[in-house]
Symmetry: C2
Subunit: 338 residues, 2 copies
DNA sequence: TCGATTCGTCGAAGCGCTTCGACGATGCGG
DNA sequence: CCGCATCGTCGAAGCGCTTCGACGAATCGA
């Protein structure tokens, strides 16, 4: 592997000049620059990342902490990861992948040993223990999610409260008054994953505002869980006309179940789902849905990290507007039925 | 951030002694070691990764190149990634995540700039362009997959040929003679992803060996693709009694379709799936399946990388035995029906 | 009892880069 | 026409660690 010295010698300049050609931090004449670049190309020179990190205290690496346990939401997580890696590359950064289950220790390890310039975390819990740890790090971090006390830490996410509101408003606008919420699995609530809470709160508030009759229920994964959940919802709110589904996994079995029990979508029951677009359109009925904009959120998280790194101002809480896309799972209820 | 010098001063020893305590490469007396460790703990010292990499030419980082485009097989990819990260951590390594679509350039970038000690790639194609590039790197690499010419590069994967054989043998053993293969999507074949080829070849060979009547077909994703695929298979091989499904995405819609058209599993048609265990048991019928042992493969890949790194012998082609698990989707055909 | 080992520690060199201060050569305004 | 700023380049220091050779002290076999 050639070093910067080899390049310097080949180009007949000093190593520092090569460095300045590379970084552009000082003016270099066009001829010199050309000669240096030729030497770089010819020798196939690539600066040594470790040496660079040591000398400049910048690694050009971002940590991405993902919940890799294959429990829920696999496709969404994947989309976030993809977006983050892609965005990071566009800023000339790489991504170090950490699993959530290394917990606080993992964060401290990579931060203290200066392996990364910034951290991006997903799947935050309401009172996430990692937050205080993050505050102690010298590297900035960006959260995908919105834990309870996030003062001083940048957060990016879909506005799940607004999403709930949008879903209910849409349904109410179509004449629906009796609406059930099929929520995430109890495990998600138990962990107090922040989006679940925020969605539920938004749901209840809007329900009250609009004077709707609603009932909410978490939903265990699997066909059995869906059956149980729907049974309870039906029992507590007979003759409901619409369902909001905030649970990707439940979607498919739910539709199967409705079909098996002779309830047609949207003729007998309307549905608004909160899920990625491609999930919504891969169902037997194309679902009216509110997208989880993983790509935007991931990209925005990286962008925020970059701003933080070069000391620019950032919005510390950035909640993306939900957007509801009408497809084929909601119908207008005639007034007489209300 | 304290440095090794701070620790040395605090413990009243030289920096090199601290280093030897850390690495264990030279004997250090118990007292000195204790004093040094106390100092490390008290100061919260963490060695600087870049400095370490520079001095030792080891980064303790592995590159994982994953197909992050959300096309197919998301859960399996996720499982591989999880296994790789977890295994890497157990060897005190971290994982740098690269996307496949950076291609050769990405590999060269991280390798030449000495960001990683070794590379692990997944989703290899038959004549993958990255292979020659890998050969030129000074870092070793491990492939998850088995491209055509892999001389000198370690490969780890499920033995898909044997898997096909196991599936057919199982079905033949239950009296099935007319069997269809629902293959991966045409896109997968087009890319010549290695597992698809290997499975198909094994399927055809075994079919001939056992004197079976078989027909094979790729299967486009989505309900429509499945419908078309099944129609063609039915047309080419009427009265088939069993299906081998090597296509995770197709599984669900296929079962839906069979049910909708009144073909019961396993009464009217038997199924053997090649898919992760949890997919097999999350279907309406628990499927007899051959597991894709993502965890084992991922772990083995890391292990192989580690052996390569410290110069131990490795098996350059390691194909894991498939194991078929009987569940509820295959039934014995009485001889009279044959 | 003595030379040869082994043990435990130190000092210094060096890994490959960035960055700061310095300095001659230009270009400019007055 | 001179002083000053700017341009383009260089040399050297230093980032924090590992590792090699050296060396006194303790240990050992004969």
């Amino acid at each position: 592997m050639p070093t910067i010295n080899d390049v310097a010698r080949a180009a007949g300049v000093s190593p520092s000049t090569v460095s300045y050609v590379l970084s552009g931090r000082r003016p270099i004449s066009a001829e010199t620059r050309a000669r240096v670049q030729a030497a770089i190309a010819e020798l196939g020179f690539h600066p040594h990342a470790g040496a660079r990190a040591l000398a400049s205290s910048k690694t050009n690496v971002l940590a991405l902490v993902a919940p890799l346990r294959v429990d829920v939401n696999v496709p969404v997580i994947m989309q976030f990861a993809t977006a983050v890696v892609t965005a990071a590359r566009s800023y000339n950064h790489d991504v170090l992948l950490l699993t959530k289950d290394e917990g606080t220790a993992g964060l401290e390890r990579v931060a203290h040993s200066t392996m990364v310039d910034a951290l991006i975390l997903m799947d935050l819990e309401r009172d996430d223990l990692r937050i205080p740890a993050l505050r102690r790090l010298k590297q900035p971090s960006v959260l995908i999610g919105l834990p309870a006390d996030h003062t001083g830490i940048a957060c990016v996410d879909l506005d799940f409260g607004a999403a709930a509101k949008a879903a209910l408003t849409h349904l109410a606008g179509h004449g629906h008054q009796r609406i059930g919420l099929v929520g995430p699995s109890p495990a998600v609530y138990r962990r107090q994953t922040t989006y679940a809470d925020r969605f539920l709160t938004g749901f209840l508030e809007t329900s009250a505002e609009l004077g709707l009759r609603t009932v909410t229920h978490p939903c265990e994964p699997g066909g059995e869980g869906v059956r149980a959940c729907l049974a309870e919802i039906d029992a507590e709110l007979p003759a409901l006309t619409a369902l909001v589904v905030h649970n990707e996994e439940a979607l498919r079995p739910l539709l199967d179940l409705l079909q098996a029990t002779g309830r047609r979508v949207p003729e007998d029951i309307s549905i608004v789902a909160i899920c990625p677009r491609d999930v919504a359109v891969s169902m037997p009925v194309n679902l009216t849905s509110i997208d989880i904009p993983a790509h935007e959120v991931g990209t925005l998280a990286v962008e925020t990290a970059m701003r933080l790194l070069d000391g620019r101002r950032v919005e510390y809480t950035r909640l993306l507007e939900p957007s509801l896309v009408e497809r084929d799972s909601c119908r207008e209820i005639s007034t007489s039925h209300r």
